[in-house]
Subunit: 336 residues, 2 copies
């Protein structure tokens, strides 16, 4: 029987679920980093497959591991050079629906502000409605959305934005014809031309050396003063100081930020997410990297992981191979 090891608490918690989903014969073992290394190493030595997001040369040598399946999209903490010979790495996505819903929720909160209407109305304030003329809100329909990075997330956002009657523009790494629901798609060098046209700009591209700091002070200044910026990708794609200054000074009108420049650690469990006080700006919607974090995401991911292990057991081609022969595989995984 084949052995798969689920390493660490997050994966280990889903062992029962995985056993229920697998249709091929597997022994599903679990180990925690808090256990003695010797037990973890014993389990590793027996494993044909490992479900984990990290692998380095601190791991034991001579493993027979043929597959590392990450339980997340990110595989940047797996060192390709440290992998056992022939070991494939597959990742998992399934977050695009959740993130697209978050993006639409952020845009609607921006134009309508239903939570603010609710808060004021509970106090007896009828303003903002037909009974007391005055404050009106806005609509998404007819506005222009620009998507930076047209991968899985961009596609799901575009489909929903089109149903709202938005114009959808995009820039992406690889030149190709505009896909469904996109009015015009350019390559990344078209970014400067895209920005001044957009009422909403969505950052949904991977963080690479080319995209790090790509949205800087100059590009923020190219955006409309009334524009709204959304980042669901990686914080470092937008220059931290330039973003804070642009929001504080009204260079752009607002932002929804779900990804951050600092994350909590055991030492700083409530660390501020930036060295700048974004939490003092009322034009920002700020969330704790929560956009994908749904019950349904977990369900879909473990179904995918089980199906990939089934494929492995049956000798079929695996889905979402991201590292093969010690090299990151371009083109086998979609952007975003």
């Amino acid at each position: 029987m084949r052995h798969v090891l689920l390493l660490n608490a997050y994966s280990a918690n889903h062992a029962e679920r995985l056993r229920g989903l697998l249709t091929t014969e597997w022994e599903v073992a679990t180990a925690l980093e808090t256990e003695p290394t010797s037990r973890r190493d014993e389990e590793l030595a027996r494993a044909d497959a490992l479900v984990h997001s990290r692998f380095s040369d601190a791991m034991p040598q001579g493993l027979k591991l043929a597959l590392i399946q990450t339980p997340t999209a990110g595989f940047d903490r797996i060192d390709p050079a440290a992998l056992p010979k022939g070991c494939l790495v597959c990742n998992v996505h399934e977050h695009e629906v959740a993130i697209a819903e978050y993006v639409l929720a952020a845009m609607l909160q921006w134009v309508i502000g239903i939570a603010d209407l609710d808060r004021r109305f509970r106090g007896g304030d009828w303003r903002g409605g037909v009974a007391r003329l005055g404050h009106m809100h806005g609509e998404l329909g007819g506005r222009t959305l620009g998507i930076i990075g047209h991968g899985r997330i961009g596609s799901e956002v575009a489909r929903r934005a089109k149903a709202f009657g938005m114009r959808v523009l995009g820039v992406t790494r690889r030149p190709r014809a505009a896909p469904e629901n996109v009015d015009r798609l350019a390559t990344l060098d078209g970014l400067d031309a895209l920005l001044p046209q957009c009422d909403v700009v969505l950052v949904a591209c991977p963080l690479t050396p080319a995209t790090r700091g790509m949205v800087d002070a100059r590009r923020l200044a190219l955006m409309k003063r009334g524009a709204f910026l959304i980042n669901v990708a990686r914080a470092a794609i937008i220059d931290e100081e330039a973003l804070f200054v642009a929001l504080k000074d009204g260079v752009i009108a607002g932002a929804a930020l779900d990804v951050w420049y600092a994350y909590p650690s055991p030492e700083e469990p409530e660390v501020r997410p930036s060295r700048f006080p974004f939490h003092t700006l009322d034009t920002v919607i700020m969330t704790p990297h929560a956009s994908a974090w749904t019950h349904e995401l977990i369900e879909r991911r473990w179904r995918f992981i089980a199906a990939n292990l089934d494929r492995f057991a049956r000798g079929e081609a695996l889905l979402n191979v991201v590292i093969r022969d010690g090299r990151i595989v371009e083109g086998e995984s979609a952007e975003g």
Copy 2:
């Protein structure tokens, strides 16, 4: 030259806009209820068309008025029997896009709660995201939406809900085949069968003797315990006490309410919108009849009004005729 009178502050405020939009020759006059009745009556006597939402037998006799164009969808304060002979009444919609956006915003606030994530995260709380496992939110995709009253609003909501991957069911007055974006459409007598299937129920039908109190305690109990109810139509379609009790006791999980059982008056400008304390329930999203109240709505409505006056001036058929020959016209105006 033809004369059109804009009566009262809301319409009078848009006189300049209307003049800019008309392409036929009109004298656009305004009068306020606060002015002496004699001046209003002089203007009324000259008017070929009146833009106003009220007409009763308190108005002067013998007017030559041939058209009353309401600046709103509602025309229930126009007494058909009081109209000058031959005078048509047309209403205006154009609110369906704004209301559909509100409905999606409410559903997304319900499943994601982006405003709550924001509030907590500003205080340093990373829960709800990937950095601090624990609380997860939900998705709209795959859930079932039931729409009561499949008119203009229902259609616009269905289109957006489908793009989110929702299953869409509906009940409506007139039997017909399921339109685009609706998986199954039944007549109103199918309501009891619809309710237990839905994760979200949207009330979007007109208030009529048949729909008043239609969603009562018995029907609320037919809904799923986890269901979310949205009312953007008229409050009285849902029994006031039954709704409060169902929310308080968890018979249903939550509601977004934009229409109310009491509205402000000069005597009570901050009147509570119900005799029950909905504002004490945190499972309710409550807004002050604000769903349609957008800048774009006003723009579209006055464009429609100008176009209808142009049609009148050119002797063409008018759009949205709701009263003809002193009778409310069925079938010429869409539901919702």
